[in-house]
């Protein structure tokens, strides 16, 4: 396991020092491990916070800024942050219009955000609403399990709900937009190689040279199945088939198509994958309205990719196109 780090225990704290130094228009609360907008709280605006385990960069800290998140809480690598962090972030960004918690659907994240919301209710007067992202079709959805994981849609949701908040909409309306994004988005991922958690000191899983893992999560959680290595064309089909089977993406105003890199896969391969995805969409009669290609929700150095489709309407596209100024996504300003 080769990494550009010092002590594994210090990775998150030191990365936050780097983020603070590299992005003067962000602020970092090093004690609470929170990245927040320099102008927080924005008076009258709904605050958007998210957070989760580290190791998925640019998610979430790289999506803090005007038009997207107001604050992000950084947990240890692949470990949900603790309620104190979300509570502090909630206080920091509340501009009087309440705060939306964007929570990826993992048991740890859900419980820690839940405790934070309980604390916010008992200790502060801040109005908190939570939205849970659960878009990963690799996981069987059921009332009796932890449900689907939150993956690629998180990026699109933070962008779109962030734009809705920036427009001055009230908390309920911002939450409604966020839920609409989650309801209309689906993802599926795959890995060619494992990631290695710094403190674990070894790869999370073994994947033979001639196999790949289909349906993998963003923490190296094993996926749906292992299959022999196959060309990009076949990989795209493995990922697209369950996504297209889960929701009808035809009609409407088209989709936002997002090919995400898991961290270790070079951009040239992501473009090869995007070409395959676009080809499948065209065959399926799905119109691409917007696209995004790159490593936006990663899994440390894992090689692989995920595909996310979001069925968009006119309003979601307008919010997607709205200005955003964060380290990870930036346009229109």
């Amino acid at each position: 396991m080769k990494k550009l780090i010092n002590d594994p225990a210090d990775v998150v704290a030191e990365a936050l020092l780097g983020i603070a130094a590299a992005h003067p228009d962000l602020r970092v609360d090093h004690r609470h491990k929170i990245v927040y907008r320099a102008d927080a709280p924005v008076s009258g605006k709904v605050g958007l916070i998210s957070g989760g385990g580290s190791g998925h960069e640019p998610l979430h800290g790289g999506f803090v800024g005007p038009g997207m998140l107001d604050a992000a809480c950084a947990g240890e690598v692949f470990t949900s942050p603790v309620p104190d962090q979300m509570l502090e972030a909630t206080k920091t960004v509340d501009g009087g219009a309440g705060v939306l918690h964007v929570v990826k659907n993992y048991t740890g994240d859900v419980m820690n955000f839940e405790m934070a919301a309980e604390l916010a209710a008992s200790e502060t007067g801040v109005d908190v609403t939570s939205v849970v992202v659960d878009d990963d079709v690799a996981v069987q959805d059921s009332l009796y399990t932890a449900g689907r994981r939150g993956v690629g849609v998180t990026v699109l949701l933070e962008k779109i709900a962030g734009a809705a908040a920036e427009e001055g909409r009230p908390l309920a309306a911002v939450a409604e937009v966020a839920r609409r994004v989650n309801g209309n988005g689906r993802s599926m991922g795959m890995a060619l190689t494992s990631c290695a958690v710094p403190s674990a000191g070894a790869p999370t899983f073994d994947l033979p040279e001639d196999e790949m893992e289909i349906g993998i999560g963003i923490h190296g959680e094993p996926g749906r199945r292992r299959v022999p290595l196959a060309p990009a064309r076949q990989v795209a089909e493995y990922l697209m088939e369950p996504i297209l089977a889960d929701l009808d993406f035809t009609g409407g105003d088209g989709v936002i198509a997002f090919v995400n890199g898991m961290g270790g896969t070079p951009l040239i391969e992501l473009y090869v994958m995007y070409h395959e995805v676009a080809t499948i969409l065209e065959k399926a009669g799905v119109r691409v309205a917007r696209s995004l290609v790159g490593p936006y929700i990663t899994s440390l150095e894992m090689a692989g990719c995920s595909v996310t489709l979001l069925k968009a309407d006119d309003e979601l596209l307008r919010l997607w196109d709205a200005p955003v100024r964060t380290p990870g996504l930036r346009w229109g300003t």
């Binding site: 947990g75 104190d84 069987q140 932890a146 403190s199």
Partner: protein, 215 residues
């Protein structure tokens, strides 16, 4: 036989030591069906717990257990942070501002903790979680005490029940937590949280010690 404040502290410190020794094991188990952080999570939390005990020695059972619970909530994160945190916070509430707990009181506090885990995580028996080690232990403690077994020995039996519960997670198909994503593929692996929970119960038995042999 009662559990004195000092024994509670021995329990917690003993648990911290066991976690320290088993960090790699817990992480390895979590690599197989999770995300390879359970060892680091628990070790970070219990190291902070011990530091807090050193810094501010609590004056009551409730004080100690609350300190442990709060520290775990604030330092562990993940699924295990809120779950173990809630476990100790509920134990604290059930214990009250006393400096010693008799057998039934300690057992009642443990059951309150277990109920906290269920309230927080909604796990049921057989879901392949820490519940599957904790619940049999708490049940065994209750029935041993009811049968007149002295507390020390009863905790010993509870620890054995926790170990059996932990082992029983191996063939289970996970329905809660990160391992549930695996479906069928979770079968055949021991649950990391059940493993740390068995250490927790074992540490309690060790801290209280076997009852003196009847003369």
């Amino acid at each position: 036989m009662t559990v004195e404040l000092a024994a509670l502290e021995r329990w917690i410190r003993g648990f911290a030591a066991l976690i320290g020794e088993n960090t790699a094991l817990l992480t390895r188990l979590d690599s197989a069906i999770g995300d390879a952080d359970h060892g680091a999570n628990m070790d970070r939390g219990m190291t902070a717990v011990v530091a807090a005990l050193d810094r501010e020695p609590p004056a009551s059972a409730a004080g100690l257990l609350k300190q442990v619970g709060m520290t775990l909530v604030s330092t562990v994160g993940g699924a295990s942070g809120p779950l173990y945190g809630t476990f100790f916070l509920r134990m604290a509430t059930a214990s009250g501002e006393v400096t010693s707990l008799d057998g039934p009181a300690f057992a009642k506090a443990l059951r309150a903790g277990l109920e906290g885990v269920v309230a927080r995580g909604k796990a049921e028996a057989g879901d392949k979680t820490m519940y599957d080690a904790l619940a049999p232990a708490v049940d065994e403690l209750d029935s041993a005490l009811a049968a007149g077994v002295p507390l020390g020995d009863a905790l010993g039996r509870a620890a054995e029940a926790a170990d059996r519960g932990r082992d029983a997670t191996v063939p289970m198909l996970a329905r809660k937590g990160r391992a549930s994503y695996l479906g069928e593929r979770s079968v055949g692996h021991q649950d990391p949280g059940a493993t740390s929970s068995a250490l927790l119960v074992g540490a309690a038995a060790a801290a209280v010690g076997p009852s003196a042999a009847a003369p």
